[in-house]
């Protein structure tokens, strides 16, 4: 799996890997832009997105791409534009200008085809509170056309450790339990692109740790591309291959967590975050 090789690969790439890449390029990969990682065809390409809400700018010239098997963290203060970016990718909001391409398709023109292979979980939405956990998952399994819904649902409930809650009324779940249910829903269709807006908000440290490991595992096993927002810097350091720091709708810095930390001469992502947010627009600081 090209994505995994590269994610775990060292900077000085062994010749064998490079050869394998060439071969892979030759036989399997459709032509198209290549990411800065030299990975496979990007799953998601966001190109110069701009979004105004009245007079205020929510996104300014936002560009990035996401390859198969890559977890990218979208970071930034409250109001930086993270959710807006996700909404545009998902087609919930349109961009004022710029474009999005998913699996090489325009999601506005191929909405259904794109959404079948994508999924989303957010701390800001709910599943119908008056249905049971299992009922909700069965409904969404039907919507996503899951072939064998019963074993799939069972597997996901087990994986997120909420199998004992399957007959519980969804509205009666604790915040952390319902977050895990959202993740089950988001994994039902084995998405190739997963968008998670603060998925670990309200999880206790134990479950948050488990969720991070699960995300890491499914990303490695299935080569899912994950776009992730979180205010928990521990999440970001552990889960993300790459982070994109946004400030007032613009990208301030980008790179692996380690690269970003060293670029800012700080010791942790948390310190980088605070510096970016307090110092405002700081392309200079980052350099």
């Amino acid at each position: 799996m090209a994505g995994v090789i590269i994610v775990t690969g060292s900077p000085g790439k062994p010749a064998a890997d490079a050869d394998a890449d060439c071969l892979w390029n030759a036989i399997a990969r459709p032509r198209g832009p290549v990411t800065d990682h030299g990975m496979s065809e990007p799953v998601l390409v966001v190109d110069r997105l701009h979004r105004m809400f009245g007079e205020s700018v929510a996104l300014e010239n936002l560009s990035f791409s996401l390859s198969r098997g890559e977890v990218v963290g979208l970071l930034g203060a409250n109001g930086a534009g993270k959710t807006t970016a996700m909404s545009i990718i998902l087609g919930l909001t349109t961009a004022t200008s710029g474009s999005v391409s998913i699996f090489g398709m325009d999601p506005l023109k191929n909405r259904i085809a794109v959404l079948r292979r994508t999924n989303y979980a957010s701390a800001y939405t709910d599943l119908p509170g008056n249905l049971s956990v299992a009922q909700n998952l069965r409904v969404f399994a039907g919507i996503y056309g899951v072939k064998k819904p019963v074993p799939k649902i069972h597997e996901l409930l087990e994986m997120l450790e909420i199998a004992h809650l399957k007959d519980r009324t969804t509205g009666h779940l604790s915040a952390g339990e319902s977050t895990r249910l959202h993740l089950c829903k988001a994994l039902l269709n084995d998405p190739e692109l997963l968008l998670l807006d603060e998925p670990t908000a309200s999880l206790d440290p134990d479950i948050a740790d488990k969720v991070r490991k699960i995300l890491r595992r499914i990303q490695q096993e299935r080569g899912i591309a994950i776009l992730y927002t979180s205010h928990n810097m521990r999440d970001i350091e552990e889960v993300c291959d790459r982070v994109i720091f946004m400030h007032q709708g613009k990208v301030v810095t980008e790179g692996s967590p380690a690269q970003v930390i060293s670029r800012f001469n700080e010791t942790s992502m948390e310190d980088v975050f605070i510096r970016i947010v307090r110092d405002g627009d700081l392309e200079a600081v980052g350099k």
Binding site: T125, L131, V139, G142
Partner: protein, 266 residues
């Protein structure tokens, strides 16, 4: 269009009723209450028949009440199944899932049909036992009228959903008011000929007006005017296209000005 998706969306409502039987009460409460009131009135009228002649406006009024209820309930069913997703903040999950707007609307209509089915069965049993009223002796000529009113009710439900999608839950009461906006010119309880010309013009633009006019025809001479039925069919199709257009317009406008995410999440 995917039958699997529609089935899943309908399943969501079946689960809802199964899990929350109290919702069935809402489904049956109003029809049963109305049935008792109008059934008792009919019984009383029947008894007093021997004496004075019943004025013709009485059956007109009852017919109007019943048919109006069909329209109103159909509108409500579609609007409620939409609101159900707004109330539970589930709409985003639907909007980011591979669900076409048409599949969503059709599932709402199927739920509406199931609701009406349950209501009709329960009411028929009740009517047979309480008032010795046999549905099979019913004016069968009225059945197409029921269907046409239901169609228009669904269209109004779609328009109500669009209002909520555009203005959020604040527009909920407006959504309930939609059928009553048209009631004065729809000739529900009185012949359209008695309205001023401009109200008549407005009235004839609605698919339900020929139905109410036709209903009075059936009640007074037993036959349905096919021209009225035809007019209602055509008008229904035009209105459905109009309702669908409004819904899609609002959906896309919501994407453009960013209100869609505001209405659908918290």
């Amino acid at each position: 269009m995917s039958p699997g998706v529609i089935q899943a969306l309908v399943l969501r409502h079946l689960y809802l009723y199964r899990r929350n039987p109290i919702r069935l009460v809402e489904l049956l409460f109003w029809p049963i209450m109305e049935m008792m009131v109008w059934g008792n009135l009919s019984v009383w009228l029947d008894k007093s028949k021997g004496g004075a002649q019943i004025p013709t406006f009485i059956p007109y009024l009852i017919g109007g009440v019943i048919l109006w209820d069909v329209l109103f309930r159909a509108q409500q069913a579609v609007a409620i199944s939409f609101l159900e997703d707004v109330w539970t903040k589930n709409l985003v999950n639907i909007l980011v899932a591979p669900v076409r707007p048409l599949e969503y609307v059709i599932s709402g209509c199927i739920v509406g049909l199931l609701r009406i089915g349950v209501t009709v069965i329960v009411l028929s049993i009740l009517a047979a036992s309480a008032f010795h009223f046999n549905v099979l002796q019913f004016h069968w000529n009225l059945v197409p009228f029921f269907g046409l009113l239901m169609l228009f009710g669904w269209t109004l439900g779609l328009i109500s959903s669009a209002l909520i999608l555009r203005w959020g839950q604040g527009a909920e009461s407006l959504a309930w008011a939609v059928p009553f906006l048209i009631q004065p010119v729809a000739a529900v309880y009185y012949p359209i000929g008695d309205l001023p010309w401009w109200a008549q013009t407005l009235g004839w633009l609605l698919p339900c007006t020929p139905v109410f006019e036709g209903m009075r025809g059936v009640l007074s001479h037993g036959t349905a005017d096919l021209r009225l039925l035809g007019l209602s069919v055509v008008s229904n199709l035009v209105w459905m296209a109009f309702g669908a257009g409004i819904y899609l317009y609002v959906l896309n406008a919501g994407r453009r000005n960013g209100t869609l995410t505001r209405v659908t999440s918290h």
